[in-house]
Symmetry: C2
Subunit: 234 residues, 2 copies
């Protein structure tokens, strides 16, 4: 255990135990350096890392304060479907239902904020967990931005997995909501027509250009998005 680790965990303990409540001013770098018998730089690194994580707030001349848990938001992981299914201990299987490449139609252009003269691929896929339909995916891919996709065999590997492993992204946007299964999804997922399903919609960009737009509808009874995490403030 390094000195850095010791100082960090010492400070975090004081904060999370409530001994240093939100708003409390913590000793300045000079005092901490003296206390831990180390240089100011060592303390500075710990404190600026904690500030980057949003656990404390720092202002020149004023000092360093335990951040008010203005935590109007926390952080959750949205997992890759294959990884999620396998983490649940099920056998994962993937099925490509539909794939079509075309010049972007007007609807595609609107959906993906594309200028004309782009090509897109539309996918419909089914993800299985232990012979049970688990999720139905409806995806649009901007192939003009990702030409390597044309040489890919999406009959074998799901487009989401391939994208994750080969195409870096700079921004993404998610929308998560509950919906009653529409007839098409209900049939694909083997659920009754109005069953409650979880829908995850994701759009992914790279450098201002939308790469993919995907809507995934999950079998309501089978799936929960789970998350375990620690506080952040940013």
């Amino acid at each position: 255990m390094t000195l850095n680790d010791r100082i960090r965990s010492d400070i975090e303990t004081r904060i999370f135990s409530g001994r240093w409540p939100p708003g409390h001013r913590i000793p300045n770098e000079h005092e901490l350096a003296e206390k831990y018998a180390c240089s100011r730089m060592t303390v500075n690194k710990v404190l600026s890392d904690l500030a980057a994580k949003g656990i404390i707030e720092r202002r020149r001349k004023a000092g360093t304060f335990v951040a008010k848990p203005t935590v109007q938001s926390a952080v959750l992981r949205i997992p890759d479907i294959k990884a999620e299914v396998e983490a649940l201990g099920y056998l994962y299987r993937y099925e490509l239902l539909f794939l079509k490449r075309r010049h972007a139609t007007r609807a595609d252009q609107d959906l993906m904020q594309l200028s004309p003269q782009h090509d897109v691929i539309e996918f419909r896929c089914l993800h299985w967990a232990n012979q049970q339909p688990f999720a139905h995916e409806h995806r649009f891919l901007n192939v003009t931005a990702v030409p390597q996709a044309l040489e890919q065999d999406f009959g074998v590997e799901p487009p989401g997995t391939w994208l994750r492993n080969h195409v870096p992204w700079s921004e993404a946007e998610h929308s998560i909501f509950a919906e009653e299964a529409d007839p098409e999804a209900a049939q694909a997922l083997h659920v009754t027509k109005s069953a409650a399903c979880l829908v995850v919609q994701r759009r992914t960009w790279r450098g201002g250009e939308m790469i993919t737009h995907v809507r995934t509808i999950f079998h309501g009874a089978l799936y929960r998005l789970n998350a375990h995490f620690t506080p952040t403030n940013d």
Copy 2:
């Protein structure tokens, strides 16, 4: 703009533009220090911050590599209800439906992993957006861990908001899923009995002790969890 910022944005640009693809080995600290005419520590700070964010991976002797977007997970914010309603431009109103303090029953002990001789408060609250019921909250609070709660008037301020502003937490766990409204929730939310609703369950700990357990059921048609974010790997 500091040197730190310039080096960081230079490296990030190369990565996100695809010029340095996943797996690419980036120059070592010595070379980068020479390139930017600065000391190794300056480069080291940038690189270790990028590594903490998961954008690059570093191994002693081997070097520094652009992280494979093994991004089997991404990150989403779960907002505070009041903040969310107001962000949507609606008028927020809160209503306390039920509050009862008691010694932890067997069920409470199981639910919150408590040893006996703890006290709990059970809440049922309704969150309104523009005169429309928006979310129904069912909460259990470990008051033995948070005795200040006893002096609080939860008729005015929602327990979730008060907790966020006064009680730091060290860990939390979420579960998000879709469910058909049960009779009680359907009545409270003014929806039909089998309407699809989004349910968010959260448990929050401080130092190994569970502070609160809350189950929030959202009006399906009114609510979407939205998230905008940038990549992480950890």
